[in-house]
Symmetry: C2
Subunit: 163 residues, 2 copies
Amino acid sequence: MTMQVSPTSPAAAAPRWLDADEQRAWRAWLYSSQLLMDRLDRELTHSTGISHAYYEILVALSETPGRMMRMSELADRCLSSRSRLSHAVSRLEERGWVRRQVCEEDGRGQLAVLTDDGFAALEAAAPVHVESVRAHLFDQLTTEQVEQMRVLGETLLRHLNEA
Amino acid sequence: MTMQVSPTSPAAAAPRWLDADEQRAWRAWLYSSQLLMDRLDRELTHSTGISHAYYEILVALSETPGRMMRMSELADRCLSSRSRLSHAVSRLEERGWVRRQVCEEDGRGQLAVLTDDGFAALEAAAPVHVESVRAHLFDQLTTEQVEQMRVLGETLLRHLNEA
DNA sequence: GTAGCGTAGTTGAAGGCTGAACTATTCCGC
DNA sequence: GCGGAATAGTTCAGCCTTCAACTACGCTAC
């Protein structure tokens, strides 16, 4: 693509197109992460009836003292918007896995609390999920690659969490 | 978590839980890929009105001779289900960016064809997208890390595309 | 104490995705 | 050629996500 440009605004300046190697790396990252997430989500959903999004909510709650957490903290932890989390918690409430409870210290706040049934559902799902993650991720990589993946991921996270 | 298990079925056998390092690597991968995709999608959507999913469809069509492709081939290329692609193409048709055309060789088939308007929309969006990918991915990594990412992604892809 | 502003969370409408059912066409074996 | 299986694509219902209102509470200052 040839473009006639003025070098004023960042994206209007001559685009820094990807070269062939960069294209390959980008496609490999894009496809592999999409396919992997898809696979993990499907395996979990089909064998336990819990989507990965719901699973993350249950995990977050289970790791907290009292198995409860403020809605907005939970949303952050699950990389979810508040609206999305609110809907999701409503649906988990219908399943009897989570209940809402008003927050003592802050009248505006709500606590999401993991029920015993919810914890049991999580306990049942966890072995299935960890086996998927092993099979499709860790079992495919060398120890060095796992380390590279961690460093790479943490580098990107630092950047993405800035301002 | 302690579990009483019979070593018969794969997931019923003692789960191969992740150790602390593996947890870190897994979380880093999970969060960074979610946040990165999210960011790229949002930047593209907000500045061009084209979601990343639509963008991928336009790119796939634009790279093909005649700027047309069979629906199912396009679905595979975009890691999309047929149903999803069918809906997406309908919506792109409404925007006048793609049109459907019956396939000569196979009466069951449909071709999705990129229109001139669709190509123009893609040309306008491409610089924005490449700049996002640079800013949030390539600019954050060393040359070695980009290479590692490629190898890692291609390794996972080989596994995920098996059977 | 109350006005004004910010924060916490929910709701509703609109659009997108999924899986299953459906239509239409082609392929294969006889 | 004809019947049955396979393939291509669409459609529908149900669920999920998003974005923009909206309610309710808390904080600060006058």
